[in-house]
Structure formats: C-alpha cells, structure tokens
Symmetry: C2
DNA sequence: CTCGGCCCCCTACCCGGGTAGGGGGCCGAG
DNA sequence: CTCGGCCCCCTACCCGGGTAGGGGGCCGAG
C-alpha cells in the first residue's frame, strides 16, 4: 500500500525536487502539488493524500493557516491528512503553532534527503516527528519556560508577543527609530522603549538589529514588501 | 552524447532534488556533487563535467569565487567547464560578478524545473542564458546607470561597497555587535565602526537596523540561511 | 615616480537605544 | 468583587553605536 503525498511549496523547483526524490521510492506516490496554502487545501480535499508536505512560508495562505484548515476541517469534511511541516529555519513559535494545529512533524529543509523520506513514512504511520534541532529547541524552551499562559492561552501570537508588541516589532523592521515609532503610534517615546524592551526579552534578542533579523526570519516581514 | 553535470550547493536536499530532476533526463548525467565552492572546484577538476550548477551563497568558498577559480584556471589546468549560477534572488552585483567571471548563465532557483533542464542544455551547447527577471534587472540597471565607474571599473560591488564593507554589512545582518565583528575579523572595534560608517553613508542608511533591512531587501542575506 | 582607492587605526564626543524599577488605568475571566 | 494581562507612562542611568576628523601603509594604474 503506497503512501499518497502532496507537496505544497511556493517554489516550483523545490516541489519538483522533492517530488522526484519521493517518487523514486516504491512505497510513495506524489499525487498532487500546490504553490500556496489555499490551493494546497483545495488539492488536499480533492485527492485525499495521506501526507501533506507543507512549507511554512508561502503567499496567499501560509503553511500554518493551511495546516489549521486541514487539521480542523469544517463539518462535512471527513478527510484529515497528516501534515508534515517543512521549513528552512527553526523558529520556535512556528513549531508551537504547527504542533498546536495538530501537525505530525516538523522538518528542516536542509535535513538529509533520507530524513525526508523516512519522515514521510514515519508520519504516514501515525507517528510524530521532529528534526533533532527542533526537538532541542523545544526542550530548551520548555525548560526555561516561566508558567506564562497557564493553559489554553488566548491566541497564537508571535512568540507570545502582544498585538502592540508585534506592531512595534514590525515598525522596527521597517527601519523606524524609537522617536518615529512613537510619532506613528501616538505614544511617548518611553512607552516605545518599554514595548521594545519586552519584545527583546521575550524573543531573547539583544538589540533592534537582531529584532529586524527576527522579523525577516520569522516571516513577520518579507523582502520586497517594503 | 550525454551532458555531464555536477551540482554545487550547500543544502543536501537541494542537491538531491536537482540531481533527481536532472538525472531523469536521458541526455543528462549527474556525475558529482559538492557542498561548497572549494570542494566544488576539486570535484570539477576530478570529474571534468560539462556543466557546473553553482549556488551563489555557500560556506567556505562562495559560488562566485568558485566560478572565477574554474573559469580562470591556473596554468596546467586545461579543463574549463560551463558554469550555470543558481540563486534564490536576483541581486545585480551577483549577476555582474558572475558574468564577468565568465559564467554562462544565471538562473533563479524558483524558475520552473523545465527551465533548469533546458538551461543546462543551452549552456552545455555553449550558449549564454539568463533568467528573464535577471535580464530585466540587468537592463534596468544599465538604463539608470549613472556613469559611476567610467569604464572597466575595478569591480562590482554591492552599491559601491568594498569587499570589506560588504563583509561587515553581512555580519551586521547576522546580528553581531561591533565588538563581535571586530573579534571575528580580527580588527579594532574602531575600524569596524569606520567601515560601518562608510556603509551607512554609501547606502544612505541611518543605523545598523536599517542596514539589516537593506541586507535582506537586497538579497545579500536571505531568510532561512541563518 | 605619483595618485587614488582601500584598509586599518586613532581620539574625542554625543546621542539613541536599552535597562532597571517604578506607577496607573482598563478589561475580561473567574 | 479580585486578579492577571495588557497598555501606557515615568525617572534615572549607562553603554553601544555612530559621527567628525584625523593618520599611515599597501598596491595597482598611469
């Protein structure tokens, strides 16, 4: 019995590469592809794959939203595939969001090809799977986790940032100074500093330069949307 | 007569994907792989491929340096492959550097797979090739080109940055402090400040946070390659 | 040779950004 | 109601980062 897989990634080359890689396995069939989350959901609901390989960052609908859609389907939809998230970076909040959404696994794209193949098999079999580096981070996070949101916390914010903090972070990532941010948000500059201080603390960053990096790496901001 | 190709890219998954893609063509043989420029040069000198698929950004020796090495071989080395550069972004200076080094082509990684395959064939046949978006940018650049470097200028640098300045900029974009950059490059912290000052002035930026933004927006640094 | 570009280093200075440690009001959950 | 989270604001302080304006050596082009 073959494992039916679809690949959702915005880069056609990546899709083709993965498809070729997986299709070479006798027990795996690539039965569909999609370039973004929204189309990925559609394709999944049409072909009913066992496993969805899902990129995190994509246009239209990102991988996390698509995963949530697939894993908590509306009434009437019975099919529920396993979702294996793919990413090039191991940012914790993605992991948390994805796991919370019910994803079966999280794999870094630069993992050895053999890992991808076995990951598909493991996930198809119903097991969970995390890349070693992700696991490491996960454990580290839990270790130093102050019992913040007790349980069933309100929402998924970027690493536990409040809306205001996220807003400030984005303006930092646009290159604004504290003064400019204050003007833009109609706040005292001190308040801006306070927000930034909390952002840096929550994310474990040193300064606004690292904050900019985080914003890009986490997808809060994307090259070209300046 | 098959086209012998080697793939030089730091991500094993990418190599495997491309290899699978190309190997499926009856007229193309993948005869080697390497994870960085230096090893790529070695492999090329060993297996004498017709075409080298070369990623731009890699550890140890980047794709541009490796391309120069292969295309201007030291005396005694006779083999001279075609080099097809691969990149995820279309930054002008990379294009210029690669073309000046004698690369046969420049392809964006997110091009359709069919393009990659035909690109290999085109290049192997001795023709040059640029991705459409690269061509567009190339023309646009020439169009609005102030007669800066009058002719045959020294080199192609990111917006007129010297190699050292570019190096410093990249470290800023990695989140390093001035002190850390100084340690990394074995410089006085003051020297680092001097370089940064010039970078900011040349690029019209205010501070290192904006420098980080520039690095991402220009493609000097890409989300995911942290 | 001279000259220009690059690289490295320096002193002196200041300000923006970040830290530490406060306070108050609002609001939804329990 | 109380309590916790969030948001906004404050003083005080300091240091990293950035500016201004120097200097010297190397090297390739002319």
């Amino acid at each position: 019995m073959t494992i039916r897989v679809i690949i959702v990634d915005d880069q056609a080359m990546v899709r083709a590469g993965f498809a070729a890689l997986l299709a070479a396995q006798s027990d795996i069939d690539v039965v569909g592809e999609a370039p973004d989350g929204r189309k990925g959901v559609e394709v999944s609901r049409t072909v009913h794959p066992d496993v969805v390989l899902m990129d995190v960052r994509m246009p239209e609908m990102d991988g996390l939203a698509a995963a949530r859609e697939l894993l908590a389907p509306p009434v009437g939809v019975v099919h529920r595939p396993k979702v294996l998230m793919l990413t090039t970076f191991d940012v914790d909040d993605y992991v948390y969001e994805a796991l919370r959404a019910g994803a079966s696994g999280f794999l870094l794209k630069d993992a050895p090809p053999a890992d991808l193949i076995s990951a598909v098999r493991v996930v198809a079999a119903g097991d969970a799977l995390l890349a070693p580096s992700v696991t490491r981070r996960l454990i580290a996070d839990f270790a130093r986790q102050r019992p913040a949101a007790p349980s069933g916390g309100p929402a998924l914010r970027l690493n536990g940032l409040t809306p205001r903090e996220t807003e400030v972070l984005e303006l930092i990532a646009r290159g604004l100074s504290n003064q400019e941010i204050a003007a833009r948000l109609v706040l005292a500059e001190q308040t801006v500093k306070t927000h930034i201080g909390r952002v840096l603390a929550k994310l474990g960053l040193r300064d606004r330069a690292q904050a900019v990096i985080f914003a890009y790496e986490s997808g809060l901001v994307t090259p070209g949307d300046a």
